[in-house]
Amino acid sequence: MGEALLLRLMLLQEAAVGWVDVPFAELPQQAARAATWIFPRAHLHALAGPPPSPLHTGRMRLEPWGLVYAGYHPGPPHPVLYALEGPDLNDPTELRLAALFMEHFLTASRAAGYREELERQARTDWLTGAGNRRAFERALQGLSPGWGLIVVDVDGLKAINDTQGHHAGDRHLREIARQLQAVLLQGGLYRVGGDEFALLFPLEELGLLEATLPQLPVSWGLARGEEATGEALYHLADQRMYAMKAGRKGTT
């Protein structure tokens, strides 16, 4: 294999450059495939279970059968352990190549994990877990034909905040969001204002929504995708929601 060291370095470089924009969940599989071309007798895999001994993220341990690295993973309390099993680590060239491969893989994995977490936070409402206003506007622009929009305004939130405190108001909002989310199948739920949600959904789901919404303490307005697009569609649903709200106030 000595003759082909530069070729193997090229394959490693090509793989590492390609990992820059690979989604976090797909990286281990892509890296495992790349490893088969760079290391003839080695394979990359994740080790199950918590670390057998303390191993901090980014640290390496040499085992008789291969290299073990602790990798970044968003979520679980322990870092995931990745092992490159099989290279001849008594050969300094193989050891260096294996370490280089694993360092690149774990760097890409950590970057992808942070990137996806930041992207998730950038489009999620922290209180309810629904999409935020920015995510809503993006989804609204790309709305497919045959979809609809419902704007939902939570009734009486101010009164709850004033009489029971803001924690109670937050709990109320989370509960409404949970119930709305439970009804949606393909559709998306977004919190677009303090007490306002928007639902984007395929119109086949409208029946279920129309059966559920009257059971919740909310006012709502529907606009179908064929009536308008983008901001105009949002405005239409919003107007209808306010009409319902005004009608309710008029009857109480």
Partner: protein, 161 residues
Amino acid sequence: METQNEILQELGFGLIPNIFAWAEKAPEAQTALWKAFRHGVLRGSLPRTLKEMMGVLVSQANQSPYAAQVHLHALMVQGVEAPLLEALGRGEVPTGLSPKTQALLHFAQQAGANPKNTFAVAALRQAGLEEAEVLEAVATVALFRMVNAWTDLLEIPLDAL
């Protein structure tokens, strides 16, 4: 124009190689050639470097100089060892490679010369390639045979390398 912009941006050579430039008066053919190359060589599961090596062997098997010379040059400037380049230039599978890489290059050499050689496909599976990699390997050979026909029939000259 869109195809030409893609070629300029994604190859990053600052010019449109003759293989694509020769199709300028037939934009659909140009797009077809470019997309085949882009998705067949630049993208996919198999490393691009190995697909370029396959391209050299397929082209040598067909005595087609354009793709052979272009990809030998590309491999050289990327830093592949001289003995490997010399073997590829002779249309031979270099020694000193991993068994899987050797299997892939033997496949290119054999199927490039004889595209009815189904045993060559079976050998890829025996060498441990995943099914997606096997299919890409077949597509790579088919792609370079098409490129060979295109460059030979039109006598497309080598780019100024």
